[in-house]
């Protein structure tokens, strides 16, 4: 989250000779990042990013404390003028006030670890003093009136949100903090009707109406208005997980909720309460008229951490002196105590850092960042050999090789979401049942984990209609096949789609196998339902199916709203990489003459079949090449040669005759 505060406001707590720009530079390096700084009139506005663990610093006081620790490291003077956490305490309250008002409170420490409230009477609603109006406006908060402004001013000063009710609108002066029931309704200050998901922290008054969506926004029915005379100042700590959940589900992402959901310090409620009361009495003319209520059954206990210099050394990599360590940590609010063990230092963790700091590494981070990461050298760790599993290496190696090869053939690599829609699944004849689905999917388009890549490639072809006429795409990606009581089988697949021709697709597949030096693969007729009956094949090695290719079955072409035929191939990538070889098998160069003979014939036999017969029939046959096919006429080129002597043309013709007889 980001907060905006002004430089002059900061100077109320901090004595420093640093300029606003120096503060920006140095804090960004060693503490909260000041993203922008803007000069407005005589003041400067800081826009500061607060990390989720440092909600304690999301305030003017928090930032001045960071300045106190960081700026001196850059030779700048920086000291807190006073510590508001020590200045404002219940001890300062005048308990002799005449208590004519009361509150009847019922709360639950599980939801609400600390509850504080007090009634102020006879307030006068008016505009705030100018300095408050100006500071709030510069900080991006709209000034409304003296009462509402105090609550915002207090939050930005000390980082503790508060709420102020119109006392007279709380029926029976009864406040019951409880969990909401599912479906209960409440209208918040911004006049939105919120239907509660259930289990939200709310406050009910004496007539059963909900007057507050706790930690997020007050109810409209108990809001302070122009006519308000008596108010309740109300400062709480809530269960942070519940606040976040309610805020996310209801969409009410308020500034208050962004504080509460990070977990606030119950101890800070006290100074904030007293300071808030002080401001209200000063600017509204009201006087406290009830006891100050403080329900805090489990106060935060003190925690300490032991630390030795060598611990610090070991993580940071440079030696930092004990004096420097103590100075850095104490300026951040950690109390240094003498230890019985002389080798170790003991630090007491301030209550507002207890969520964040629990082990010595946490303290070392504080030391290192204030010391300055920019002051540390850049070193490379010593080299050491770590074995990469061979199968992993092969998989990555061939992904690169294959991607480059396909690219050079003219294909475009695409990457699609792993998640697809129900429609995409059904359009290729599958059902969602065999897919893993997301339980909290944000869109029906990305609800199921794909088990194949075709559906995505089909979508790519359709989406690219009219953008380019000839499309050749490929994708290498994991698919996710569900298993019982286990993570899915993440099968890596290669898929290709072209909208040009079957022959082109087959050519791509064949060239790939050739490039990978896979010599023993065979093509058989396929029977995959998704592909056209007579225009598909499977690639087989040693009776193991590696992949399929063919024209998309016209039924699915229509179903997927495709105007023209498309041609698809899918290959199991892991098997492909396993079968691939860096080098082909070397054949010694033939010493004897090779005679080439062409043959055109009409046959019903498949090319694969002809090849098998031909090689069986002639020992002189070295190679067969497919030249052309026109209607039923097939033209082939035969290469004849002998391993032991030169042959003459007639010998070759003799061989071809034998073959022709058998294949016609």
């Amino acid at each position: 989250m980001n907060i905006k505060i002004t430089h002059n406001w900061l100077l109320e707590y901090l004595e420093t000779d640093a300029t606003p720009y120096e503060i920006q530079k140095y804090l960004s390096l060693c503490g909260p990042s000041i993203e922008t700084i803007e000069k407005v009139g005589k003041d400067y506005v800081y826009d500061i990013e607060i990390t989720s663990n440092r909600i304690d610093s999301a305030s003017v006081f928090g930032i001045s404390q960071e300045c106190q620790a960081i700026l001196p490291m850059f030779g700048k003077k920086a000291k807190l003028k006073y510590n508001p956490l020590e200045k404002w305490s219940f001890k300062n309250l005048n308990s002799k006030n005449y208590h004519r008002s009361i509150l009847k409170i019922k709360t639950d420490p599980r939801l609400n670890p600390r509850f504080t409230a007090i009634v102020l009477s006879n307030i006068k609603i008016a505009p705030s003093p100018d300095f408050i109006k100006e500071r709030l406006t510069l900080s991006g908060v709209k000034s409304i009136n003296n009462v509402v402004d105090v609550s915002n001013y207090l939050m930005l000063t000390l980082g503790q949100p508060c709420h102020i009710f119109d006392y007279d609108k709380i029926f029976g002066s009864i406040m019951i903090v409880r969990e909401s029931r599912k479906g209960e309704k409440l209208i918040t200050l911004d006049e939105k009707i919120i239907t509660l998901p259930g289990g939200d922290i709310v406050i009910e008054d004496g007539e059963g109406k909900l007057i507050d969506l706790c930690g997020i926004m007050g109810g409209l029915n108990s809001a302070v208005s122009e006519k308000t005379k008596n108010i309740v100042l109300f400062l709480q700590i809530y269960d942070k997980a519940k606040i976040r959940k309610t805020s996310m589900i209801t969409g009410q992402r308020t500034v208050a909720s962004s504080y509460f959901e990070k977990g606030l310090d119950p101890e800070r409620v006290e100074p904030a309460f007293v300071y808030g009361l002080n401001l209200l009495e000063k600017f509204t003319g009201g006087k406290s008229s009830s006891p100050s209520y403080d329900i805090y059954p489990n106060p935060t206990r003190k925690k300490t951490i032991f630390l030795s210099i060598s611990d610090v050394d070991r993580i940071i990599g440079v030696r930092i002196s004990k004096e420097k360590i103590v100075h850095i940590l104490t300026s951040l609010g950690f109390n240094y105590q003498l230890s019985d063990d002389r080798a170790k230092m003991v630090f007491e963790i301030p209550s507002y850092r207890q969520d964040d700091i629990s082990i010595k590494e946490d303290l070392i981070e504080e030391i290192a960042r204030v010391y300055g990461y920019h002051n540390l050298p850049n070193n490379l760790q010593p080299q050491t050999y770590i074995a990469q599993p061979k199968e992993t290496e092969i998989l990555f190696e061939y992904q690169t090789k294959i991607k480059y090869f396909l690219k050079h053939l003219g294909l475009n690599e695409t990457m699609n979401y792993s998640m697809i829609s129900k429609e995409m699944i059904e359009n290729i004849g599958l059902t969602v049942n065999n897919h893993l689905s997301l339980s909290n999917s944000i869109s029906e388009d990305i609800k199921y984990l794909r088990t194949e890549i075709f559906s995505s490639l089909i979508k790519n072809i359709r989406d690219n209609a009219g953008k380019k006429s000839q499309l050749r795409l490929f994708e290498i990606a994991k698919t996710y096949l569900p298993r019982d009581n286990d993570l899915p089988d993440e099968k890596l697949k290669l898929a290709v789609v072209v909208n040009t021709s079957f022959s082109e697709l087959k050519g791509i597949v064949e060239s790939l196998f050739k490039e990978l030096n896979i010599e023993n693969s065979q093509v058989k007729n396929g029977d995959h339902y998704l592909l056209a009956k007579n225009l598909q094949g499977e690639i087989v090695i040693d009776d193991i199916k590696l992949g399929i290719f063919g024209q998309l079955n016209p039924k699915y072409q229509v179903k997927n709203n495709l105007k023209n035929e498309i041609f698809l191939a899918e290959i199991d990538f892991t098997s492909l990489a396993e079968k691939a070889k860096i080098m082909p098998k070397y054949k010694s160069i033939h010493r004897y003459a090779v005679i080439k003979l062409d043959l055109t014939l009409e046959t019903k036999k498949s090319y694969e079949n002809i090849k098998t017969i031909a090689f069986k029939t002639s020992k002189m046959l070295q190679n067969i090449e497919f030249i052309d096919k026109f209607k039923d006429k097939l033209t082939l080129r035969f290469y004849f040669s002998s391993n032991i002597q030169n042959i003459i043309e007639n010998q070759a013709k003799e061989e071809l005759k034998k073959i022709t007889l058998l294949i016609n």
């Binding site: 590494e361 990461y373 920019h374 690219k407 050079h408 998640m419």
Partner: protein, 360 residues
């Protein structure tokens, strides 16, 4: 042919010769193995002995003249040939197919190589994993916001008693404890994988790529993380690139940092050089203007999170944090591509638009 007719004849023939091939035929006709000169020389035996010497000399002179004439003609023809070829060389040549790799593939290759050079192996871990590896062992308490429905995509699957819920990995860090279990220590690993978060708007895609580095060994400290990331940034973005670490917060590292690099547009100055034309501003010419760079925050760009491996994570990885320390980082690949190549339209990365894909 009569001896005296040879040269006039040749001259005539050469006049009509237009190509080097035709000249080659003339050479064969006159000087070849069975050519005219050879003919005339064989006739020497019919000549009276007293005149043979003179005849021989004459033929030799003719032969020399032929050679000279032919050489002249050859030079003429070669020069002509060299000059007469006229092609519009600005016309395109024969077209070969031009395919493309996905931008992510290109970046993965660049990144893997950079880390390979300093001894990091690339590993691959599940993209659908158990809560145990994605959160529990990464020091994320059960009610941590990252573990809720708004930050992580969960799989509709029965919860496993030992490993918890099944999730789509929201980061590559699920590989950390898995790698620790695989090799123990020392570790030098990068893990590049798809990650998923329930976030889909103009600047977020529900799937994205992260690359993660993990180094565990005796004596590893912050200076090593700083040094490695500075090395990476200079290799990937260029030797001028400056880096810095800023304090940040992540559950699985302690201390945690955000890594920044100097902005590639304003070269770390925070100001544009020529305010009207941002493209030109990337150059080094021009005078620094008062216009702030719109790409970066005061000269720096955030790259991503990193830190020293949290002792709880080492413990979960069965590595003794008293003996070993480590660092880890996880950056978005789309982010580094955007910074290096300026390809900002993230919605095109994964929608298969050919006009995007074919450019790379």
């Amino acid at each position: 042919m009569k001896v005296d007719d040879v040269l006039p004849n040749l001259n005539n023939e050469l006049k009509g010769t237009k190509t080097l091939n035709e000249l080659e035929n003339i050479i064969i006709k006159y000087l070849g193995r069975n050519g005219l000169i050879h003919d005339l020389l064989t006739k020497i035996k019919n000549i009276d002995i007293s005149q043979r010497k003179e005849y021989g000399q004459k033929i030799n002179n003719i032969k020399n003249s032929i050679n000279q004439l032919i050489e002249q003609k050859k030079t003429e023809l070669v020069n002509k040939k060299n000059e007469e070829t006229t092609v519009d060389i600005t016309l395109p040549g024969k077209r070969f197919p031009k395919g493309s790799l996905h931008v992510i593939t290109i970046a993965i290759e660049e990144i893997s190589k950079i880390f390979q050079k300093i001894g990091f192996i690339r590993m691959s871990y599940p993209e659908v994993d158990w809560d145990f590896f994605a959160f529990e062992t990464l020091n994320m308490p059960r009610n941590h916001p990252a573990r809720d429905d708004f930050e992580t995509s969960f799989i509709d699957y029965p919860e496993n008693k030992k490993w918890g819920k099944m999730v789509l990995t929201p980061h590559t860090s699920n590989g950390q404890v898995r790698e620790m279990w695989r090799v123990g220590a020392p570790i030098r690993m990068i893990n590049i994988a798809k990650c998923y978060r329930p976030n889909w708007d103009p600047t977020h895609t529900p799937m994205f790529f992260q690359f993660e580095g993990l180094c565990v060994d005796k004596g590893i400290n912050i200076t090593h993380l700083k040094g490695t990331l500075d090395y990476f940034a200079k290799e990937y973005f260029g030797p001028d690139c400056q880096t810095r670490l800023r304090p940040h917060h992540f559950q699985f590292t302690e201390p945690s940092f955000e890594m920044d690099i100097t902005c590639t547009v304003c070269k770390g100055t925070g100001y544009l050089r020529t305010p009207e034309v941002p493209e030109v501003a990337a150059g080094t010419s021009g005078v620094l203007s008062k216009t702030k760079c719109k790409v970066c925050k005061s000269g720096w760009l955030e790259l991503g999170g990193c830190g020293m491996v949290h002792p709880a994570v080492l413990k979960a990885g069965k590595i003794d944090p008293g003996i070993y320390t480590g660092w880890a980082f996880g950056f978005g690949i789309e982010r580094v591509i955007m910074i290096k190549y300026g390809i900002e339209d993230i919605r095109y990365y994964y929608n298969g638009d050919i006009r995007f894909l074919e450019q790379f």
